[in-house]
């Protein structure tokens, strides 16, 4: 059975199942394959910089070492905030009702880059009426973790959606804060699947 998030608004509780929406479900996707001269699909593997070691997919593992190169187990690490104080665990959003008591403005919502969106399924009609055109926010955590993400619940065309993202810090600027363009600057971007309509 799909996991449920229980939202609480005005002392009523609404258990809903989130279903992730991604481009592949709406538009399909593209698989890029490498073909040889005989039009046979090639395999992918990796080569080290000596050119002598060929490594298949799954042939690499990851580990952690300290400054002297000694092996460190993950369980020996501790989570800290940037000031060095120990971080606190945040419970999974699936473990207890999420109280919707904080709203944001459209601009506050637009200050966030949305990483993922979920359709909320279940008995939504009453919650849709209660939410109306408001945008509610809470901290979302998929599992017990040290860091949650800002999340938003809002209505669109009679359906409810959960949007999870990251807050970006943009600031208002005046005439004194003139920017300097650098031609050498590049940005790392991730490659995602296109809109099917493009």
């Amino acid at each position: 059975m799909a996991r449920e998030l229980t939202f609480q608004l005005n002392s009523s509780q609404f258990p809903l199942s989130p279903t992730k929406i991604d481009r592949s479900k709406l538009y399909g996707w593209t698989e890029t394959k490498a073909m040889d001269a005989q039009n046979v699909e090639c395999k992918t593997f990796y080569m080290d910089n000596s050119g002598t070691i060929m490594i298949p997919k799954g042939g690499i593992s990851y580990g952690i070492v300290d400054s002297s190169g000694k092996w460190v187990n993950k369980t020996d690490l501790q989570a800290v905030y940037n000031d060095g104080t120990p971080a606190q665990i945040i419970s999974s959003s699936f473990s207890a009702p999420i109280v919707l008591d904080k709203k944001v403005t459209i601009e506050e919502f637009l200050d966030h880059a949305i990483d993922s969106i979920y359709e909320l399924n279940g008995e939504i009609s009453e919650l849709v009426k209660l939410i109306g055109k408001d945008i509610y926010t809470f901290t979302y955590c998929y599992r017990d973790d040290y860091e949650g993400n800002p999340a938003f619940v809002m209505e669109s065309k009679g359906k409810l959606y959960l949007l999870v993202g990251q807050r970006l810090d943009f600031e208002f600027i005046g005439i004194e804060q003139t920017g300097i363009v650098s031609e050498d600057e590049t940005e790392e971007v991730s490659d995602d699947i296109d809109f099917s309509m493009m």
Binding site: A37, M54, I64, L77
Partner: protein
């Protein structure tokens, strides 16, 4: 900060700066004594001792099973566990030989995993060209509607580079703020294409949003390649 060329409602264009905001990580993992950790990559297995190679070497799985009981052909005692860096991706054939001449092919699939089309791969070309300004399309969408229609996954802030561009961008921000709306902007010669920030990049539809606060302004480009809509019934991905 990178440079971009953009037009306003009066078809006046100006070169301005744009930059992203990188969210700061609030949590990090350190050693128990507070020291920094380092992540490394380790070699688990090589191509010559992975399963398919061993099956070929010993002809079949039964023979390989017998060898596995008496020996350890699947372990390279010399190299397993060594740290590896700077790995290069290569393509190979079924005999695990490197293939030097390849061509890329795109298989375009429908949401139900059926093949829609197969064609030669063509890398998308970046179209943020400072010689061709981004076009103010005139298509305004209320913010209230925009946030419920599109998922805005990436954002850039436009910034002025001198007094003239301050006036230019401030006026755009004020117009959009007063109308509480976002403006669709387009790229390319016709000014209607989605924005592609670098070669091989993802096309995004872009909307301009402006806010003003006294003499200060905030002008953002919001990028989207996903609509907010229900998943239909026949969209089970295999």
């Amino acid at each position: 900060m990178r440079e971009i060329n953009i037009t306003n409602a009066n078809k006046r264009d100006a070169r301005v700066g744009f930059e992203a905001s990188i969210p700061e990580k609030k949590i990090k993992f350190v050693l128990k004594d507070g020291g920094e950790k380092k992540s490394i990559k380790l070699l688990k297995t090589t191509l010559d001792i992975e399963l398919s190679s061993l099956v070929k070497k010993y002809d079949n799985l039964d023979n390989l099973s017998a060898v596995l009981i008496s020996e350890d052909p699947e372990i390279d005692y010399e190299r397993s566990g060594m740290m590896v860096n700077d790995l290069k991706k290569v393509y190979g054939d079924d005999n695990n030989k490197v293939v030097y001449q390849i061509h890329l092919e795109d298989v375009i699939k429908n949401p139900d995993n059926t093949v829609k089309e197969t064609k030669a791969h063509v890398e998308t070309a970046g179209n943020i060209d400072i010689d061709i300004p981004l076009n103010w399309t005139g298509k305004m969408i209320p913010k209230e509607q925009a946030i419920r229609s599109y998922v805005f996954a990436r954002k850039y802030q436009l910034k002025h580079v001198n007094g003239l561009t301050y006036d230019f961008l401030y006026d755009i921000a004020k117009t959009l703020d007063e109308q509480k709306s976002m403006m669709l902007i387009g790229a390319g010669k016709k000014g209607i294409e989605p924005l592609i920030f670098q070669n091989g990049g993802t096309p995004y539809r872009a909307f301009l949003e402006g806010r003003v606060k006294g003499p200060q302004y905030l002008l953002l480009i919001h990028l989207t390649n996903l609509e907010i809509k229900e998943i239909t019934q026949n969209t089970d991905k295999q």
